[in-house]
Symmetry: C2
Subunit: 259 residues, 2 copies
DNA sequence: GACGATACGAGCAAACTCGTGCAAAGCCAA
DNA sequence: TTGGCTTTGCACGAGTTTGCTCGTATCGTC
């Protein structure tokens, strides 16, 4: 059997029961326990479940690699490559943040990975992203400001005018912006109507804009224009991103970081 | 059996009964008492329950870091009597809420109990209380609005001007107000400077005020005046509350509910 | 305050689970 | 087919969990 399909079956089995043992899974899928252990290790690293001694449990809904954020938006399960790309982008982005700075972390699945990198750092994080809250809730060193809003459970975020209003009170050093697509003409776009105004307010509240976009976001999808890559101070991306689009940013004086 | 799953079963068993003995749990889960003791120790340390001699009781809901909130204010450990009083107050308060209403839930340890009672109900909840968020995060039927603010980890709440600003956008049917004390002269007081303005804004945003105060809050402590019991539409309390203070509310046309 | 009963935690041996290294099997392209 | 690569199952040393025993601490009762 193909690895990916087996892993999907494991996730489904866990979803239905909430937990499963290595032995049980090995019996159900007719493979050895070693194989199950290897699969569980991968799935754990991708945040799709939480490994326990002797088995695994479903990850607390939507904490890291939300099947919603990724599954809904892109029509498939997060796969190793994508999560890995995001993790590299997140690490590179976090490295740009200096101690004492105020950072706005956007909605999305990449920003919680940035948040994780910021653990233990002396920074202030502003967000509407509950996954970010979850990452930093117990970290005393990070000052965390949660913008208000209506809870959108599927995306683990807060939206609405309250978030925009709250941003009016914020002055940040940098915003880590995520999006659903970057067009060949340099337009940074999103496909969520409720998020777009918040993203625009985040941009307005921040001195510097850092765009987080793995190669998969070129060109991506989405009709709502947030800004242009020419407006951003830095694009953090991966090797596969098209040079032509990145050049638009470079020519406008923006930095391009390939993680 | 998987450790984690067993611990979840223990917590569930406790939630349904409120308390359980080591012997009973060992029999139910078909493991030795030693194992149960070890599990209880872990769960106690995580704040998910409170160990007692011979068994355990549910920790005051809101879990984990919650003991700071009350531990700091009222002494080290969860107090069975107090939790029980709060639970009764919370149930009586929740019973007052009609379907479709908008409810503001204050900071504190009683309001998460109200939130739990509201699970599955068709209501809108407005709060700065992360313990309330935690209770309702996965309940699709409740519409949840989180006010913004700076995370105050010890008290699992959001404070600051952003919360007050956010409340300006809110029009609620009722606020479930908590406090640290109700003076014999009827003054409802609190001892947290950062919370008082938010509580006042909550009152302003709501048509009706319901004060949640177990008998322990009479007279309680605190120097910051929030309002008078004469201003509230209902006081939900317990048997031991002084009649004289409650009469102030009654004479002003307020309802008094003894849970 | 003393006593018997019960509960507690530490220590220990046995059972179980883990991850890794390795060889065989499976797959793909040339 | 061959050759290179990935995946799988097994063996094994290391680490974790479990149930038992035993000395100590706590509870309820006298």
């Amino acid at each position: 059997m193909i690895t990916r399909e087996r892993q999907n079956r494991i996730v489904r089995a866990l979803r239905s029961d909430g937990a499963a043992s290595v032995r049980q899974l090995a019996a159900d899928l007719a493979v050895s326990e070693s194989t199950i252990r290897r699969d569980l290790e991968v799935l754990d690293r991708n945040g799709e479940l939480t490994r326990t001694y002797g088995g695994a449990v479903v990850h607390r809904p939507g904490t890291t690699v939300e099947e919603h954020g990724l599954g809904v938006a892109e029509g498939r399960f997060a796969d190793d490559v994508d999560v890995d790309l995001k993790r590299r982008v997140a690490a590179a982005a976090a490295a740009r943040i200096a101690d004492g700075q105020v950072v706005v972390l956007d909605i999305g699945t990449t920003t919680p990975l940035v948040a994780r990198e910021l653990r233990g750092r002396d920074v202030t994080v502003v967000t509407t992203n509950l996954a970010v809250l979850h990452e930093l809730e117990n970290d005393e060193s990070v000052r965390l400001i949660l913008l208000g809003g209506v809870l959108r459970r599927n995306y683990r975020s807060l939206v609405g005018s309250m978030a925009v209003q709250g941003l009016a009170e914020v002055s940040a050093d940098v915003v880590m912006l995520s999006c659903t697509g970057v067009r060949p003409n340099g337009h940074v776009v999103d496909n969520m109507a409720v998020e777009a105004p918040i993203k625009r307010a985040m941009i307005a509240a921040s001195q510097q804009i850092v765009l987080l976009a793995t190669e998969r976001k070129f060109p991506g999808t989405g009709a709502l224009r947030l800004c242009s890559v020419a407006d951003v101070d830095a694009v953090v991306t991966t090797e596969g991103a098209p040079a032509a689009t990145l050049d638009i940013a470079r020519q406008a004086g923006g930095e391009v970081v390939v993680a």
